[in-house]
C-alpha cells in the first residue's frame, strides 16, 4: 500500500526504479488468493475466494487487484485472466513456443469447419438437440458433435420432449475462447444479409420456381 501511495505521490523520473516498484509485494491475503487461484482447476469468483479466505468480498476484490497487477502480461509468465465468470491463471503466447517444446504437443487441435459450425449452433441456441443441428447445417453433425463432446467444449443437458439429447457449451468452451459469459457473443443476426439482399435472393428463388420454359429435362446439347 505504502509503495503505491509513494508511486502516486512521487512519480519517479528514473525508469528502472519505477520498474522495480511495479511488481509490489503481495500482502498475506493476496498471497492466499494467489495460492487458491493456482490450486483451483476452474475460474473462481471473488465471492468464492472471499469464502475460502474467510474475508469480505470487497477485501477479496482488492486482493485480486494486487494479484492482477503482479500477474499482468509482460510482468509475469503467469497471467490473471477473467474468464467463464471468474478469475483464473493462464500462460500467454510469449511462452507458447517453450510450452509446445516441453509438452511436445500443441495446446489444442484446431477446429474443423464442421466442428466450428456445430459449436456455433450450440453456443447460440443452447440447449439444442442433434437433429436440430443437423437440420440447420443441412448435413449430419454426429461426428462433429462427438469430437466437441470429447474435447469438453459441449456437454449433454438433458433431452428434448421428443427424446433427443440436448447440448450446451461448457466452462471449458468459455475458457478456450476467452469469454467471460456466453452472452458476450455478438448478436448472431449481424451476419445476416441485408433486407435488400434477402429480397433479391427470394426473388431469384421464386423466379426459378416459376420458370417453366424448357420444363422437361433440358436436352443436354452443349
Amino acid at each position: 500500500m505504502s509503495q503505491e501511495q509513494e508511486r502516486e505521490l512521487e512519480p519517479s523520473a528514473d525508469g528502472s526504479a519505477v520498474a522495480v516498484e511495479s511488481a509490489p509485494e503481495l500482502d498475506e491475503l493476496a498471497c492466499t488468493v494467489e495460492a487458491l487461484l493456482f490450486l483451483a482447476s476452474d475460474p473462481l469468483t471473488p465471492q468464492e475466494l472471499a469464502d475460502a479466505a474467510g474475508v469480505q468480498e470487497a477485501e477479496a476484490k482488492a486482493a485480486l487487484e494486487a494479484v492482477a497487477e503482479r500477474h499482468a502480461p509482460g510482468a509475469s509468465g503467469i497471467q490473471l485472466r477473467e474468464l467463464a465468470g471468474g478469475y483464473t491463471f493462464a500462460t500467454g503466447p510469449e511462452s507458447e513456443e517453450a510450452a509446445k517444446r516441453l509438452f511436445s504437443r500443441p495446446r489444442a487441435a484446431t477446429l474443423t469447419p464442421a466442428q466450428a459450425e456445430t459449436l456455433a449452433i450450440v453456443a447460440y441456441l443452447q440447449p439444442v438437440s442433434r437433429p436440430e443441428i443437423t437440420r440447420i447445417r443441412g448435413v449430419s453433425a454426429d461426428s462433429a458433435a462427438s469430437t466437441l463432446l470429447e474435447r469438453g467444449l459441449i456437454e449433454e443437458s438433458g433431452r428434448s420432449q421428443f427424446g433427443a439429447v440436448m447440448y450446451r457449451t461448457t466452462t471449458q468452451f468459455l475458457k478456450l475462447f476467452g469469454m467471460n459469459a456466453i452472452d458476450e457473443l455478438p448478436d448472431v443476426a449481424q451476419w445476416d444479409p441485408t433486407p435488400e439482399e434477402q429480397a433479391q435472393l427470394r426473388e431469384r428463388l421464386l423466379r426459378a420456381g416459376e420458370a417453366r420454359t424448357g420444363g422437361g429435362p433440358a436436352p443436354a446439347g452443349e
Binding site: 507458447e96 443476426a189 445476416d192 422437361g216 436436352p219
Partner: protein
C-alpha cells in the same frame, strides 16, 4: 442450350446450403439449367486433383446433391401437376430461403468463433490435480443425497418412442437412380420410347429420379433424346453402339 460453365470453387466449399446459396446467388445459373451430372463431374475432378478422399466433404457433397435433386424435381414439375405438390413453389422457395439464411448465419458465427479461438492460441491453463492432502478435504456426497425417483424418471424418458419419421423422406429413398436406369434400359431394348411412357402413373419423385437416370444414360452414350417444343413429347432413342451392360451401382 449451353450450360453455364461451372466453377464450383470446391476448396472453400464446406456445406451444402452454402454452395446452394452461392449457386442461386449467381444470377447466370438457373437451377433448371443446372445439370447435376456436371456438378458431380466437377466434384469428381476436384477429388481426382486432390488425390485423396475427404470423407466429411464427400458426405456433405452427397447430401448437397440430394438437396438439389429435391429442389430441382419440384421446379421441373409441369403446371398441371401443381396440385399434387404438398408445398407450393412459392412456399418451397420461402422454406429454402429460410434454411439457406439460417445455415449462412451460423456459418458466419462459426468464423467468428474460429477468430476467437485463434486469438486465444498460445493461452494455456494449468491442468494438475490438487495435492493429495487437499483432495482429502473434498467431501463425499452424503448418503441418501440422490433421489431414486430420478432414475425411474430417466427410464420413463428413455421409453418414449420418438415421433414417426416424415414420410416424404422415405419416398425419397424408395426410388433409386439404379432402379430407374434398369427400367429405362428395358424400354431402350425397343430402340425408342417416349418419356411419358417411361413415367406413366409414376409419382413426382419417381419422375424426377427418372430424369436423372435419363441424364446418366446420355452421359454414358447409351441414349439421346429430342423434344420438338416446350412441354412436347420427349422421344428417347437408343444409341446403337452403346454398351448396354454395365450397371450403375448405387447411383441413387
Amino acid at each position: 442450350m449451353t450450360l453455364p460453365a461451372l466453377d464450383l470453387d470446391l476448396d472453400v466449399f464446406s456445406g451444402p446450403f452454402d454452395l446452394l446459396l452461392a449457386l442461386v446467388l449467381r444470377e447466370e445459373i438457373d437451377l433448371l439449367e443446372l445439370e447435376l451430372a456436371d456438378v458431380v463431374l466437377a466434384y469428381l475432378d476436384h477429388l481426382e486433383g486432390r488425390g485423396e478422399l475427404d470423407l466429411e466433404t464427400a458426405t456433405e457433397f452427397i447430401v448437397l446433391i440430394a438437396a438439389l435433386l429435391e429442389l430441382k424435381s419440384r421446379l421441373m414439375l409441369a403446371e398441371d401437376e401443381q396440385e399434387l405438390l404438398d408445398v407450393e413453389p412459392g412456399e418451397a422457395a420461402e422454406e429454402l430461403l429460410e434454411r439457406m439464411l439460417l445455415a449462412r448465419r451460423f456459418r458466419s458465427a462459426s468464423r467468428y468463433l474460429q477468430e476467437l479461438f485463434a486469438r486465444e492460441a498460445g493461452v494455456r491453463f494449468r491442468n494438475a490435480p490438487p495435492p493429495a492432502h487437499l483432495r482429502k478435504a473434498m467431501p463425499a456426497p452424503a448418503a441418501g443425497s440422490e433421489q431414486p425417483q430420478a432414475l425411474g424418471e430417466a427410464i420413463g424418458r428413455l421409453l418414449r418412442m420418438p415421433p414417426t419419421i416424415n414420410l416424404r423422406h422415405i419416398s425419397l429413398q424408395r426410388v433409386t437412380v439404379a432402379e430407374r436406369l434398369a427400367h429405362l434400359r428395358g424400354l431402350l431394348r425397343r430402340g425408342r420410347f417416349s418419356f411419358d411412357e417411361a413415367v406413366r402413373d409414376a409419382d413426382r419423385m419417381t419422375v424426377a429420379v427418372t430424369v436423372f437416370a435419363l441424364l446418366e444414360l446420355y452421359k454414358r452414350g447409351e441414349a439421346w433424346w429430342e423434344q420438338d417444343e416446350s412441354f412436347g413429347e420427349i422421344a428417347v432413342h437408343a444409341v446403337a453402339s452403346a454398351p448396354v451392360a454395365g450397371a450403375v451401382a448405387s447411383a441413387g
